[in-house]
Symmetry: D2
Subunit: 374 residues, 4 copies
């Protein structure tokens, strides 16, 4: 369905070439200061046209809040926010009406629903993540306001080029407010949202693929800081499970890791286990954070560390084999529409949004944030 969360609930709607896209956020407690600017800021990070690596579709993505705010604060009522679509070119997509693009959802939507709004991928378009980002912006505000939680995503790999920055190489950068701020500036200051020294190599890697009318993927790491101990449930709604599902809600994500992830499979128990100790103030500390902030499905107080594998954009200008569902003949397609040669940097605000929504929902359910009023 199109609703995420139980107590902090985001319901998204809209198609790539319909009238509008948007979200209804329900369950945000009353008395959170909230303005359109809070949402616009995050939408701007997701907006197309930010660099040569993103689709040239021209959209202001200006958000309008229709309900749920009174005198600058939430009231506990549902917050409906919409973004009207402007730069629609339905004609661009008539070619794909009967020829599903390889790697796309064109075929599965069509077979499942038997009435597919194919224009720009319709409901399967990346454009619908505007709703995710709206929900995430409100969740982020709530988490920041109540617990000073910060959620930071960045690119650590593009194609086969591994960046030299990631959480496990530099855990200390996340412990200090100043260095964290610098990190975030560094992330936003380049088109791939990668704070590594070798980011330029990645850019070149993408440019080369663009010349071949091809696309590339990558890996994104997301770190959530200041999450209190006890978030998440022990059996089926484990914090890691909910986060994995949230991130897999983003098209293009093919894998999710928590903490050291697949590397854990190669480690001995004595290496993997994070030993505990009391610091001088008798606070519980961990020597390492291999677990990525979660033990037994429940947050343990260390930073939550996640990684997602992002596949290359399926829309490519290169010729590919496909089928024509009308003529029932095999055919070929060159996807000429507007698309990102690498979706990784624009997925980051969406991934952060999904992490924020999941945390907000679990923290309300877990008694960390009052469900009605702050």
């Amino acid at each position: 369905m199109n609703t995420y969360g139980d107590m902090f609930r985001v319901t998204v709607f809209g198609e790539s070439h319909g009238k509008a896209v948007g979200a209804v956020v329900d369950g945000c407690p009353a008395n959170l200061p909230l303005s359109e600017e809070d949402i616009q800021k995050e939408l701007n990070r997701r907006r197309p046209g930010q660099s040569i690596f993103s689709t040239p579709r021209k959209e202001e993505d200006k958000v309008e809040i229709l309900s749920g705010i009174f005198e600058g604060k939430t009231t506990g009522a549902p917050i409906c926010s919409i973004v009207y679509n402007k730069n629609m070119r339905p004609k661009d997509y008539s070619a794909i009406k009967d020829t599903p693009r390889p790697g796309h959802a064109d075929l599965t939507y069509r077979l499942k629903y038997k009435n597919y709004d194919y224009r720009g991928g319709g409901r399967a378009s990346g454009r619908v993540t505007i709703g995710h980002v709206i929900g995430g912006a409100i969740a982020k505000k709530l988490l920041s306001y109540t617990y000073n939680i910060k959620i930071v995503g960045y690119t650590i790999k593009i194609g086969k080029i591994e960046g030299d920055f990631n959480y496990y190489k530099n855990p200390n950068i996340f412990e200090n407010e100043k260095s964290l701020e610098r990190l975030m500036e560094s992330i936003e200051s380049n088109p791939l949202r990668c704070p590594s020294m070798n980011e330029k190599d990645m850019e070149e890697y993408v440019l080369k693929a663009m010349k071949d009318k091809d696309s590339v993927g990558g890996v994104v790491e997301i770190v959530a800081l200041n999450v209190p101990v006890g978030v998440g449930n022990p059996i089926f709604n484990k914090l890691n499970g909910e986060l994995a599902r949230a991130l897999m809600s983003i098209n293009a994500v093919k894998g999710v890791e928590i903490g050291v992830g697949f590397k854990a499979a190669e480690m001995y128990g004595s290496e993997m286990n994070d030993e505990m100790y009391f610091d001088d103030d008798k606070n519980i500390r961990f020597k390492t954070n291999n677990c990525g902030g979660i033990l037994g499905g429940i947050s343990c107080g260390t930073p939550i560390v996640l990684r997602i594998a992002v596949k290359p954009t399926p829309s490519i200008g290169k010729k590919q084999k496909t089928i024509n569902l009308k003529t029932l003949e095999n055919t070929e397609i060159e996807v000429s529409g507007r698309h990102d040669p690498v979706i990784v940097p624009r997925i980051i605000p969406v991934a952060e949004a999904m992490v924020a929504i999941t945390l907000a929902d679990l923290m309300i359910k877990g008694g960390f944030i009052h469900p009605c009023s702050l």
Copy 2:
């Protein structure tokens, strides 16, 4: 919470050293032939004591169905099944009462609930997955009965030793009923549930770790066959998202991949995209299955391919640093209880169960299986 699924719902209960563990399965349609044997068969695959690599705790794990069956068939009413615990040694665990084991949920449970049944890890024990397996056994029966769906899990890596068998190396084995049967026999015939030629190397790898009072992890691949086109939802309840969450519900899982997984990040769009064609009978086919059977969150008819990273068992005899929550002093622990040096093979039936439950739930919700009566 302790319930999984919306329309095919499994509610699990019980502690490692309580009276019983079990599950209530609600939403299984009426008229499915079902007996205790169907469940027992799967429980036997999860049971301790199957090899030198598993805990020596002696449990028959005999299941008793208390409700929901009439004249050998389900009635649509909830099916409660229980397994009484027999071989409890609560004394074994008094050592961990105040000293949380590194890598375990002891600490987080204790801080979250403030009344922790620490005996054998209580609710955090692997023993509670008996409930998962009960639910999975019923789901498997339902999927097999209605769509001949088969779910096959096996080890593809132990520690640093990669097996020479996996789906992408041998996709054809899964296309043929006979070869699939031989594969399944081969999986069940060795203690690591690994159908690779180098399985013995893996056994030695584990034995070496055991000598060091240490433990190892590994990677499990799970393939689901015959899932029809159209299962899963396009936005938030994507088939991949639901499966990722389901698998992350198993303690020890630190990563989930669908299809080529993290390798997708390294591929070009032209490599990753699975091209389509009509076969001679005008059936839609894919040249490759890099997507792992899911496009846009919806099954596309090819085998569903999943991989999970299993961390090494946190319980190890080796000395580890930890804390004493009573004395508030730093201390050390050697976990002497009964535990598996490698949990990978016993996790396989649990992982299969979670995949089966998820598919059953989504297929009922998606209109593939009638919710009331077969």
Copy 3:
């Protein structure tokens, strides 16, 4: 929360004096023909200003569909519909800012959320039922399209004046398409939506109360026809339970009856039980319909008969005692805003909507309507 239904889900939003009110309908299967007219028709029945008995607030209540429709049909994607508010007079309500109106939700909202959009009752205003009616219009279309289900509501009592028409007096009128049509015309043709011969007496009763600056209540009966056998669940999600909850979702409803309702308490088993027989075509028939179409929580094929008690509109011009939350003093209030002296007729389309939404949801969940595509 603000979402109703599990598989046919209506999420409503908006305040009386905010920018807009509306609803997102999720889970409507693809391929249902749907236009703005389908919704507008129902909104017009709920709209203010239809008679001297309703609030003089001037609202066109023009609906705009923002998503989910392609080439005149639903696509399975969420349908967002909005109605912009036009005739807002926030000033009218400054008087109630600190003096909660007796019988209203002013006080409880304020105490629960601590930030109350009091303008026109904000979220507690009857105006928010526009969202309910939008959801209901789509549900009605779906039920009519798939099963020819009809949902008819009408007034059977105003104040102490009992009408001479109700289901149990004239069950045969509901069995014939022609007479049913005439009934529906008769309902819509008078301001109280009462098809009784003594409807004029009721009008006079209300006019007299209006002169006293007072308000009156009444009883509405709702009949749902052509609901197939088997809708509803046996234990906790009984059809009657879900319908009772749905109708209690309407402010002003203080009681719900199914079938003969409270009269059942006075009957002997031998009177109450509806005897069964086979008709000449071996169809199962019931001699009576005391059960109101539901046995053991499950529809049995006879018309579903419901009644709701509607309390008098709490907003009255008459002087009432109340409190001032700012000065903490006892005070008095004369509610001068625009309000209906009797809300009964305008509640009817809302009640029908809630019945329709509930049936649509249960029929999708119960396998009667395919969840993805018609």
Copy 4:
């Protein structure tokens, strides 16, 4: 389905003549003192054989807790409790195998599921409310422990005989701990659970019906005391809506009223509205409680007052017309099994249980009770 509640969740299972009936209660916060006695006490009030008015089936109804308790307190883990069936006489019911009893769910279950465990009504038997009462006992303990909430149910009408005691005649009795205690003793001290002076007339009324092999119904009132202000949601999960659904979950309930209920339809706004005032301590008070403790779906601090209409037991010895589903012929039936001539008194603990479960769930969701640990 068979689960009630979102955060305080009761999953019930079992059939009248199966091995056992019971419930899994999930979401009860940790650290609530709980023993089998707490549950047994409530089960004893529901147990058959308490008087000449109840079925002679001999059942001890002894409860056994299987999980979720450690050192006398809840741990936050699910609490599974079971009652083994003892006095099964499956033979008694072979007569109804093919001839559905009028007024019973026999027919609808059979048509819906196509595999009906008809023995004693199977899943449709009143015996399954043991699960409800188990859940209610734990909810009552939780509500009493945290807010001193008391839930009191009693008969106010049997057949056509109206009792002389009800909340609106004697509201003051509920304001005083002592008088309330005396009331509760008076309720439990007679077979009809009616504290009215004319209770003996009711007994005679029932005895007369018994002589005619017939059955009678009645009306039950339930009052919940000490519920804090703010419980319930404003739009769709109104406190009244949730309570109505909960009570309609009990077979035999044909109507639900809140506060003055259907009488509200006859009142003027100026009569119905409960005027507010500050008492000497500046506490908000209401002059009347016509609303029954709920305004706009949210509790307002006054006692919650509910009434349910209970239909006469459908099982009667009197000859009734019905059908034979095997021979497809019209036939007659005299239900000779063990049944209550009046189910009203034994429904009271079930109704109280449903109210308690609903309040517990809403109070956890509303932030009144911490979801994890007390």
